[in-house]
Symmetry: C2
Subunit: 313 residues, 2 copies
């Protein structure tokens, strides 16, 4: 399969594994890249030195292209970028912030920059400042989420109509049917998080992986929705936050109090069901097993082709 996304990254299939905190280290990223898709190291939960280690290990584990995802709001963002440059990583996905001031740096050493957006305005800005592609991420996605709550089905075609650079769809996609749906909407690639979080190579805790498998259709919720929305599975801690938010409203100060106590690490990496934030998307309802990353890539492409054939007849 060849299109602008496979050509941009020099990959075999237009599937990108989302960079996920406490989930996508060198093991997952290299396994995905070895399977012909694009693996991303999630730098969001890494200090600069740890990121360097993961980059080096990924490079040793795969001859194929891989990338790094960085949240631009990090206080030490310049140090993270320095590591990426020193280690000569050519593919960078940026999220949560404006990529403008950083794109030029990456371009200087031949880097490819992709920005994650949640509305048309952000998409146009990303295109304007020189990004090579964008990820259009819908409301159903896990983890940090856009304030506008625009879903993948509504967002992707509107962004495709607004920009000329390739659009990668994210949010709610876990199988080949979702991938074909995204392509029907005009996307040329898909970014998949939750499905890859429940793989053997994911560095998350077994309890977290199991909770993805167990989650049903309505089991994730958005909290802090007017401040810094986060989607996670409804567990005792998130239920408590939601209750407070519904009945009293939420302030930034109170959110910092609740959210900032290493909740992501606790939930995803330590498997603390009671007190952690176990971030996952609505597609968790489509995940029924924990298998290898290669098995996921192969399944998605097989189902994508099978679903396509339904339309040809």
């Amino acid at each position: 399969m060849t299109n602008r996304v496979t050509q941009l990254f020099k990959i075999n299939v237009p599937i990108i594994q989302a960079g996920m905190v406490w989930v996508s280290g060198w093991k997952l990223a290299s396994a995905v890249s070895n399977a012909g898709a694009l693996g991303l190291i999630g730098a969001g939960s890494m200090k600069p030195d740890l990121l360097r280690e993961h980059i080096r290990k990924t490079a040793s584990a795969t001859p194929s292209p891989f990338g790094v995802n960085i949240p631009l709001l990090r206080g030490d963002i310049d140090d993270l970028i320095a590591v990426i440059q020193e280690e000569k990583v050519k593919i960078v996905f940026t999220a949560a912030g404006h990529p403008g001031r950083h794109v030029e740096k990456f371009k200087k050493f031949g880097g490819i920059v992709v920005h994650v957006v949640a509305n048309i305005k952000q998409a146009l800005k990303a295109q304007e400042c020189g990004c090579d592609a964008i990820v259009a991420e819908g409301f159903e996605a896990g983890g940090h989420n856009g304030l506008d709550e625009i879903t993948t089905m509504a967002l992707v075609p509107q962004i495709v109509d607004a920009v000329t650079i390739p659009v990668i769809a994210a949010g709610g996609i876990a199988d080949g049917r979702g991938m074909l749906a995204a392509f029907a909407l005009g996307a040329e690639g898909v970014q998949i998080g939750t499905r890859f979080a429940a793989t053997i190579e994911s560095s998350a805790h077994e309890v977290y992986k199991q909770k993805i498998v167990e989650a049903g259709d309505g089991d994730t919720i958005i909290t802090y929705r007017n401040i810094l929305p986060v989607r996670a599975v409804k567990n005792p801690f998130m239920a408590l936050v939601q209750k407070e938010e519904t009945h009293k409203g939420m302030t930034k100060e109170r959110m910092m109090e609740l959210h900032a106590k290493g909740r992501e690490r606790k939930g995803i990496f330590e498997g603390n069901w009671e007190e952690g934030e176990l971030e996952m998307g609505q597609s968790s309802g489509l995940v029924h097993d924990i298998v290898s990353a290669k098995e996921i890539v192969d399944r998605i492409m097989k189902e994508f082709e099978e679903t396509k054939r339904r339309f040809i007849i």
Copy 2:
């Protein structure tokens, strides 16, 4: 085009025009049915006698099948159902409530019953009590909305996997790309609201139709979200409700005070931008003109076929 949905309703194309309060009277329903799709009279804003009038006018205006959509929570639901039976309308879409106690009545005179659902549990219940098909409606849809906030992209494949009766996708679909995406996810039909609300035959106020055309990607919001969620365009009234909800929370009593003052009529039928609720879905960002219902059906099918051809090459 032939599939289980076209066969069930005896229509040419598997497109259903959603029953919409103050929007879909006999003019819109008959125009859609005359175009080969399925038109629905929205009984939600009609007293029984007015519904009877609209049914009779629709029957005179089209030789093709049409249906009625009824919200089951209406106090006079038995009177509405009596009108449908007396007037021998064969297709009924039910929403907002449990269809169980009514399905048998409709079946007695050979009726086809379709229930609108927003999660798997509701879908299974609808199938169990004898519904012929279901509409799986995602969070992006306009008007009344499910409490679980499951989006079309995540909801449709999960429901398709759970039931054996045909699934009609709704929410975020306004063109042939969205229709093909829904089919990729396993739907066999699409229910489209907002796109049909901005047509010449829609009985809504011109101001409301124009606001659909003007709405951008992030211009609709959900309010009363933990009680009885409603999606409408962000206007002065909805902004006020949202602000109160965010900072103080919302109670059922306060919602009744705010919502119940004929807000839908004011917004949709009277075009009152300041004080009304102008219900519309996130697909309003994909609507750029006001044309005839037939033009919409033709465009969607043309784009559906064109998008399909992209995959065949």
